[in-house]
Subunit: 516 residues, 2 copies
């Protein structure tokens, strides 16, 4: 079979897994010209009132209603399966569907609950969506490569297993970019996943399918992975909350990757959610399963409630990255106007709540960003090139330049050129990773906090700004208020290594300050 | 200067730092033919009664007597400085001496105690000896290489700093093999360190100077490092207790190494001591200083007393590595008779104490041992060769074969050939690291528990044993009851990753069972 035939077969198989009753006739879908589809589901009559009610709940509310018997796991599972199919038909975010297995799992959970009068764990009956990298028995993990199609996983990632032990229902996997290396989500199999807030814009990446699905409430809670920003970028592009923990806090065992043996900087997995407390709930639920007993690289560190409460209460001093008096600027690439406004909004809210906010001059930020790029490119992207070549598929636009350059491994200077701090970018326009990937280099935990939306009336370009360098110029010029309008603006909160509880407590404080 | 001149200068400088009154005339030293010098100090009149009393104390007794005012830090410091010089004159174990600075530090601690009526930390006034790799301001860290001589450290290793914060006094550094890669201790600068129990035998390595110094009670507590057995080998060869923790539990920041960037298997530092409770005390004292606030690779994990008590109490099931029904045998290299007897002694003691002991068939042990050897040799030992070549000094006997082979990096198959499970080996005879280094590959914590001594009457060679392979044959044939007589026999207790507290609790239980 040609790669096109393989892809065609996969697309048809995926489409066939959407129950016929849930397929939306094209004349009922919003026209392609309609940028935002974020309110489409609520405004359509596609979901029942119950399905709408269920899919609007926070995770702790949802699990509470299952634990009290108000909803069965089956009801919840059906609502999310249905809503996920709509999300997919709007923004093309799924790679795998296993509704039959999910409903079977829900039935078993309901039987357990009936029989024992209690839940199996904190996530009893909660559907959880997984980035395509997480293995699920019986499904594929093609992670954006045609040549990985047809390889059905015979076992599961450790995190998948532990989520199931905690009672979670696995029902979909979500789209990623070919190579997993980009802050956008496009490949030759599923195609491109768009941003539900503005389909002209990217949903971010590499956990972009996850972000888009969650934005449309097609999932109550998702799992992404992050080695340079791949959880935080799609979370902030989709108005979500996320946690990228330090390495070892959550189990990464048996997650599909092409980076085996790359030990200098570790990819980590983490939750993406609708509110900060859902992130907390996820961490509590997983750590209760003691991942260190299953995954050799997980750290024997249970949830530390005291640290969480220390973060959640009391007045704090927040440092905001700043250069030349401009809050939010790392000195290399100037953030777009909506980002600067979002940061000011957070600073104002924090000061109003009695916290102290100070400028924090980044220390060797550019050096760190350059260093991590060199580490990432040390192998000349050889595995990705090899895997792409083996099926004959073409590289995606983000990867095209690198793919066509014949750069030998360990020629470290010129391989990746990546830049740009902005809200959700135009498709194929993601370039600067410095604001996120430096945090991976340091292995510090970070959360994403949604703040506001790009507003073309308020977020005017500063025509006086003199750019720092060519990349900065390119990035700043790319800001088009009309196109970026409506794109979410999030900030990143960074904590000390392995201090996820304290960081999550702070994240909740900021969330409260923002709505006060 | 030639390398010989540089070495001559270093030796003279080191000797000059031994106060004249403490230099022992050669006719008062035991003759070279006298194998054991382990009781020499007690039997000589070199130390005062007070010095003998101080240097016989366990660390918690010693610190208790300082905290109660019974001894000053100065008295303690002087006693250990004196005893360390005798140890050095017997087995050649020191690389650096800083008695003046140590006594100055002791004076300051005494003044603090006088003024405030309390100690600065758990190690107030306790002298701690450091393996040469640990940096101390104003001293060298030549780690066995002539070309590193003359480079005086301007700052300290993080562990050195934290030990000082806890009140420890730094007074000596101890000898290591050239390259740090061997289970023996010899180099062209200080020469060879011998085993105080039998000077025909090796003191082990690479923390061999530390082991020999401690065996002679020239130190109450020492710090070694371990990437393949370098703490556990000298501890077991010198009848000591030790802890090799998992990576991240103790700070490794700014320790001198030639392995920067080698991330697959991490060297760790850990304590070597006279009893299990001193290991516990060391861990409590260091973790109280919160190393994760200073060292980016240290894990935010305080001492967990509950876990320790869980290990220390209750009946347990112990697995003992075994093959073909032979307890202690990994299936590749047969342990020497005294080792097998020591293991039986531990099994008997544990069963008598009510514990259960089962055979544990090693899983892919040989595969793991081969794998770690490949990782260690992936660079073709290039840095060590380069550093040796830059001064013109010759390689030590252990390194000679590798040094002379011109093996390019990443030719993984043939570089290191290392074998042998035995009590302290004859000099230049250490070959098989499989029993210790597999534990480094897994990053599990392990302790050393001294059990017994080789006894030429009891530990008879099994002439019927059919060796498994050439290395096994070479190793087994190397056992000569007459030469090995008197060498200490220790066992290794292995725990789960980052569960040092539980492991130390178990270690204490075994210690109690052995003397019951």
């Amino acid at each position: 079979m040609t790669w096109e035939e393989i892809v065609d077969k996969k697309r048809k198989a995926l489409f066939a897994l959407i129950p016929e009753k849930w397929r939306i006739p094209s004349d009922q879908l919003p026209p392609e010209s309609e940028r935002s589809v974020i309110s489409f589901i609520e405004q359509s009559n596609l979901l029942t009132a119950e399905e709408l009610a269920i899919t609007a709940l926070k995770v702790n509310e949802l699990s509470g209603k299952i634990a009290s018997g108000e909803y069965t796991a089956t009801q919840v599972c059906q609502a999310y399966c249905h809503r996920a199919t709509i999300a997919h038909q709007l923004v093309n975010c799924l790679t795998e569907i296993c509704f039959d297995a999910a409903l079977e799992q829900a039935k078993e959970l309901d039987e357990y609950f009936q029989k024992h009068g209690r839940t199996v764990g904190l996530l009893h009956g909660v559907p959880i969506s997984l980035k395509d990298q997480l293995r699920v028995k019986g499904l594929e993990s093609c992670i954006g490569y045609v040549s990985f199609l047809g390889k059905v996983d015979g076992d599961e990632s450790i995190l998948t297993e532990l989520l199931r032990k905690a009672g979670a229902i696995i029902y979909v996997k979500t789209n990623v970019p070919q190579t997993l290396r980009f802050g956008e989500t496009v490949n030759n199999i599923i195609g491109r996943t768009s941003n539900p807030y503005n389909r002209l814009l990217s949903c971010g990446g590499s956990s972009g399918g996850e972000g888009a699905l969650l934005a449309l409430h097609g999932s109550p809670l998702g799992v992404g992975t992050d080695i340079g920003g791949s959880i935080r970028i799609p979370a902030s592009f989709s108005n979500l909350w996320s946690l990228k923990p330090s390495h070892g806090r959550l189990p990464y065992g048996n997650i599909k990757t092409t980076l085996d043996g790359k030990e200098s900087i570790a990819s980590v997995c983490g939750p993406m959610a609708h509110c900060a407390s859902d992130l907390v709930y996820f961490m509590q639920a997983v750590l209760q399963q003691e991942p260190w007993k299953y995954d050799p690289k997980s750290i024997d560190m249970p949830w530390r409630e005291t640290r969480y409460l220390e973060g959640k209460t009391g007045k704090k001093v927040f440092g905001v990255i700043a250069t030349d008096g401009i809050f939010g600027f790392d000195g290399t690439i100037m953030p777009h106007p909506p980002i600067l406004r979002g940061i000011q909004q957070v600073i104002t809210a924090l000061r109003k709540a009695g916290h102290i906010v100070v400028q924090w001059q980044p220390y060797k930020h550019k050096y760190a960003a350059d260093l991590i790029e060199k580490i990432f490119s040390a192998d000349g992207a050889a595995p990705a090139k090899r895997i792409i070549a083996s099926s004959g598929e073409p590289p995606i636009p983000n990867f095209k330049n690198t793919y066509e350059l014949n750069i030998p491994p360990i020629d470290l200077e010129s391989l990746w050129k990546l830049h740009t701090p902005h809200s959700a970018v135009k498709h194929d326009d993601y370039k600067y990773y410095g604001y996120t990937e430096v945090i991976n280099l340091l292995d510090w935990p970070a959360t994403t906090i949604p703040v506001t939306f790009t507003d073309k009336e308020k977020d005017i370009k500063n025509m006086q700004y003199k750019c720092m360098n060519d990349l900065d110029k390119e990035t700043y010029e790319a800001y088009d208020p009309d196109i970026y309008d409506g794109g979410p603006v999030g900030i990143q909160l960074v904590g000390k290594r392995l201090q996820e509880e304290y960081l999550l407590g702070l994240t909740e404080q900021i969330g409260e300050a923002l709505v006060a």
